[in-house]
């Protein structure tokens, strides 16, 4: 069942050759899982995320971004050219095993950074299983209280993992790979009514390509980021679910 889910997992590759001064054509390719794209020159991945405004220094190598299919939950694996692994969220509790298997299938042996965007179960539920399966260097999570067992289990797993526990906040950088800039843009504050607004927002830049991972950040957090001058207006589309302000939370 879980494996089947993962057949639909989405892998996007950003392959940046660095030998072109202007932005290449942007293509979105959504292959079935395990048919990895061999992305050609000038191909970058676009999933509705932010793009950087101008050319950067030339780089060589591949940045891989895997969007795992965990239903309406979230789990994203980023593999940097230097072989560092970043995991953002781990799906629901019931997704933990499948995420672990997927990471193993991608050659992951350790996680250099885990980002738990915010305490909702569809983001952190699977992380205890994942934290017990791999050595983890650093865990970034917001300073937020939630009362569910799922969050309690997550915190206990974090505390038992031996990983460095880092309070995620705007302005922090993840120093993982010299060619990759990984900056935390939110949360900018320490007190929000909605848990979604505690979401850790991460921007990854590599060559000419930039990804924005927004968790479930909503207007209050978005406005803080915009006011801070971090973001362009396209960010406004980040969490705009159909029908309701809560969306797929």
């Amino acid at each position: 069942m879980k494996l089947k889910l993962f057949l639909f997992s989405l892998i996007l590759f950003a392959l940046i050759c660095g030998c072109y001064p202007q932005d290449g054509p942007i293509k979105a390719e959504k292959p079935p899982l395990e048919d990895q794209i061999s992305a050609g020159e000038n191909t970058t991945a676009d999933s509705g995320q932010e793009r950087s405004a101008g050319p950067k220094a030339a780089v060589n190598g591949k940045l891989k971004v895997h969007y795992l299919n965990v239903g309406q939950a979230d789990s994203i694996l980023i593999q940097t050219p230097a072989g560092k692994n970043i995991l953002i969220d781990g799906g629901n509790s019931s997704d933990g095993d499948a995420v672990v298997r997927y990471l193993e299938s991608q050659g992951v042996q350790r996680l250099d950074a885990v980002v738990a965007t915010h305490p909702h179960a569809d983001h952190i539920g699977g992380l205890p299983r994942i934290l017990s399966a791999f050595p983890v260097a650093n865990i970034y999570f917001p300073n937020a209280i939630h009362t569910t067992r799922t969050y309690e289990n997550f915190l206990r797993a974090v505390n038992a993992s031996g990983a460095k526990r880092i309070r995620a906040r705007a302005g922090l950088k993840l120093e993982l790979d010299p060619d990759v800039e990984a900056a935390i843009l939110a949360p900018g504050g320490d007190s929000y009514e909605k848990l979604n607004n505690y979401s850790v927002v991460l921007r990854i830049e590599y060559g000419n390509t930039s990804f924005l991972f927004t968790g479930d950040a909503e207007a209050e957090s978005e406005n803080q980021m915009l006011a801070g001058g971090h973001l362009l207006n396209e960010f406004k589309t980040a969490h705009s679910p159909p029908n309701t302000e809560y969306g797929w939370g």
Binding site: A121, I145, H146, W248
Partner: protein, 64 residues
């Protein structure tokens, strides 16, 4: 322990041990928010059940 994990659309997503289920927001107190622990008391409505059985029985008709 029943805990509201989050809201999705017209529903509250409630954690109960290993189970997760949704409750319509409209049957919750207006002040309910994520992170609240809630008490759920369920009673069997005998008279409404009887009435309902009679309504359905009236519709259950055979020609032969």
């Amino acid at each position: 322990m029943f805990v509201i994990d989050r809201f999705e659309g017209d529903f509250a997503v409630v954690e109960y041990g290993e189970l997760v289920f949704k409750l319509p927001k409209k049957i919750l107190p207006k002040s309910a928010k994520e992170g609240d622990l809630i008490k759920i008391e369920i009673k069997i409505d005998e008279s409404a059940t009887d009435l309902r059985r009679r309504e359905i029985a009236d519709l259950l008709q055979f020609d032969e």
